[in-house]
């Protein structure tokens, strides 16, 4: 008898249901639990108070990323509250027998960067972390989602979670991405179309030629940003690119086990004829390099356009939201995006801090100088990425241009460490959230791709990376005084 065709999500879900009954949510087994210092201390305290243990410490892995400074003296943490939180994670890892990739271990990094690079993230798994950007791991065809601290405690105690089955959404992007348009632009383009709650209650599967053509790093960027559309998780079906990325990694299966694993992973992609609750279709050719102009990732326009006028908003609520965002951002409707000057450039975060991101930025930077008005920094996502980048000489490209080359961590993405914006400072950031105050109180964040961030650092303002002459060093590297006045007049 023919089985009903199933989606990738349904296959992973079905394979992880421990128990279900009509009266309760499904109990879902969790294959990998990632832990960081910010959302875990209260969960470990809860275990202690109830006299509970960690059920499967060997399926749990911890690292330190949010609070750690990114300067070379990062082992000494000046902020006493941050230092206490890091000490708490060390103590909890020791007490409960959990592997901790500590600062300086060679494997420390942003939790969503190290999972994949160590081969811990594999197709068909369920992965959770007390962090909304856990959706990143969906790039491997793993069902991965963020949870709160009570759920962290639940997973520590039971290696499972009570979950209601989400709905499914297919985002199909056919065609080829134009040159200069990246996975980050795909993500921003999608969120701009469907909104920050466009996928609430859904697990999104990305498909289509443009998605298949992405590297694993690009797929991670795309799935990472899925939470910014409100989705529970993002998924890309595993394929040869997935398998070749994983082969030989520290925790990937070896030998006969590898063959068994790949055979299983090949059964995961969505069956022909499987149904989704919603389908969104986008042509890759319609996508451009994007820049956010407001305080939500859906407030986004192509770099070739201008700051929108709130009066054209679809509803009164949107008009108010846009007007408030423009006031916060210090922007005037109608200002061409490529005339907006930037003070800071941040290349990093779980969205865009991988080796491929750094290479792409370095290609734009190569041989040029950071604008005198800009302070720019590159923060590799992990100690391993920093080593690889340095082995390739990428750090020399950035340092010669005037970028700061930092130690790994979340850094300026959310400024829980010393890397923050001053009030009214304007930043081109490769991170994922442009919320008010996210990078520092009063700070103004514009989300872009690594290439666009690199180009903005050189030009001193946003610039279309497609027209940024890659063969002519410093062709757009400075702003003359007259332009500078125009730029400053464009913003308040």
């Amino acid at each position: 008898m023919d089985k009903k065709p199933r989606t990738l999500f349904e296959k992973i879900w079905d394979a992880h249901v421990v128990a279900q009954s009509a009266a309760e949510p499904s109990l879902l087994y969790i294959d990998l639990h990632l832990v960081h210092e910010v959302t875990s201390p209260q969960a470990f305290d809860g275990l202690r108070q109830a006299g509970r243990r960690v059920r499967r410490p060997e399926l749990t892995v911890a690292t330190i990323d949010h609070n750690v400074p990114t300067t070379p003296d990062r082992l000494v943490i000046q902020d006493p509250v941050a230092a206490a939180q890091i000490r708490a994670l060390r103590r909890n890892a020791e007490e409960f027998g959990i592997t901790l990739f500590d600062i300086g271990s060679g494997r420390q990094g942003i939790v969503h960067v190290i999972g994949p690079e160590l081969g811990l993230t594999q197709p068909g798994m369920t992965i959770v972390c007390g962090d909304s950007h856990t959706s990143t791991h969906g790039a491997f065809g793993a069902l991965a989602f963020g949870i709160g601290t009570s759920e962290v405690e639940h997973v520590l105690a039971t290696q499972s979670l009570q979950q209601h089955k989400p709905q499914t959404m297919l985002v199909r992007i056919e065609g080829a991405l134009p040159a200069g348009v990246t996975a980050k632009d795909m993500a921003l383009g999608i969120i701009g179309r469907i909104g920050t709650d466009g996928a609430t209650g859904h697990v999104v599967e990305y498909a289509g030629e443009a998605v298949r053509s992405l590297s694993m790093e690009g797929r991670m960027t795309l799935c990472n940003m899925t939470i910014e559309a409100g989705a529970r998780a993002g998924l890309v079906a595993p394929d040869e690119a997935t398998f070749s990325y994983l082969a030989g990694r520290a925790y990937a299966p070896q030998g006969a086990a590898w063959d068994a694993a790949v055979a299983r992973w090949r059964t995961l992609p969505t069956d022909p004829g499987a149904e989704f609750d919603r389908i969104v279709e986008i042509r890759a050719e319609e996508l451009e390099p994007y820049v956010t102009w407001g305080t939500s990732p859906a407030m986004v326009v192509p770099v070739t356009s201008a700051v929108p006028d709130p009066r054209n908003a679809a509803s009164e609520a949107e008009r108010q939201g846009a007007a408030r965002a423009l006031e916060y951002m210090g922007l005037v409707p109608g200002t061409p995006i490529d005339t907006i000057p930037v003070d800071r450039v941040f290349i990093g975060s779980c969205t865009n801090s991988r080796l491929e991101d750094l290479r792409a930025a370095a290609r734009v930077v190569n041989g040029r100088k950071v604008s005198a008005r800009v302070r720019a920094m590159v923060v590799p996502g992990s100690e391993a990425i920093k080593r690889s980048a340095e082995a390739e000489g990428l750090h020399r490209v950035f340092l010669a241009a005037g970028f700061e080359w930092r130690e790994p961590g979340c850094s300026m993405c959310l400024g829980m460490n010393p890397d923050i914006l001053a009030p009214q400072e304007r930043c081109a950031a490769t991170s994922n959230r442009n919320f008010e105050g996210r990078q520092g109180r009063g700070g103004r964040t514009h989300l872009v791709s690594p290439e666009m961030a690199a180009a903005a650092a050189i030009a001193g303002h946003f610039v279309d990376v497609r027209s940024f002459h890659l063969d002519r060093p410093n062709a757009a590297s400075s702003v003359n005084p007259a332009q500078e006045r125009t730029l400053n007049a464009a913003v308040s």
Partner: protein, 204 residues
């Protein structure tokens, strides 16, 4: 968990859509390792200027709303990060229920585990409550047994919540305790997992 059955309290209007968890509790307060003490930092950057002086125009600082325990907000409340510090801050500030057209998924889960009830009402009903609360503070009753929101003047709207969450909230149940009753099912599932799946035991 503190049970939730029926609550009557003053409603405060916060007419913004997409209120994200970075606004509810800014990042600088997430470094603490305790589960309590977040109430005073709720909406910190909206409530206080950079010197810590209260901003009188922000609604939560207005005397007539000081005692409010029901927050009325725009759609997609609680979007953004997974920080449970957001419902902790709301609950510890004294809120028992949030009324909005829609909620972000993770926020909603986190709120339910802290006895803070996310009540999703139709956009038109939220709008009506918002306008009335803006005119003058008034009391609302949120009844989880009857699944209704009502006011003394006859306003009434029904809401929906999944039955299991309702059961847990009404009884203040510890969901870890419930899951641990299924220990045998978990052990049976674990026995069938392929041996090649990643594990941190072997140092590699």
């Amino acid at each position: 968990m503190q049970p939730f059955r029926k609550h009557t309290g003053v409603a405060v209007p916060l007419d913004r859509a997409n209120i994200d968890t970075d606004q509810i509790i800014p990042k600088q307060f997430l470094k603490r390792i305790e589960r309590t003490g977040y109430g005073e930092f709720l909406f910190y950057d909206w409530r206080f200027d950079s010197d810590g002086t209260p901003l009188p125009e922000f609604v939560l600082n207005q005397p007539q709303y000081r005692a409010a325990s029901i927050l009325i907000a725009g759609r997609n409340f609680g979007c953004g990060s997974s920080r449970e510090h957001a419902p902790w801050a709301l609950a510890q500030h004294g809120f028992r229920a949030i009324i909005a057209p829609t909620f972000a998924d993770i926020f909603s889960n986190n709120a339910l585990k802290n006895g803070l009830l996310p009540v999703a009402l139709a956009e038109s009903a939220v709008c009506e409550l918002m306008r009335r609360a803006e005119r003058a503070p008034f009391e609302l009753t949120v009844d989880l047994e009857a699944l209704s929101v009502s006011a003394a003047d006859g306003f009434e709207a029904k809401f929906h919540i999944n039955e299991f969450a309702r059961h847990c909230l009404l009884n203040g149940l510890d969901d870890i305790g419930l899951t641990l009753q299924r220990e045998a099912d978990i052990a049976r599932f674990e026995a069938a997992r392929p041996a090649w799946m990643p594990s941190l035991t072997a140092s590699r």
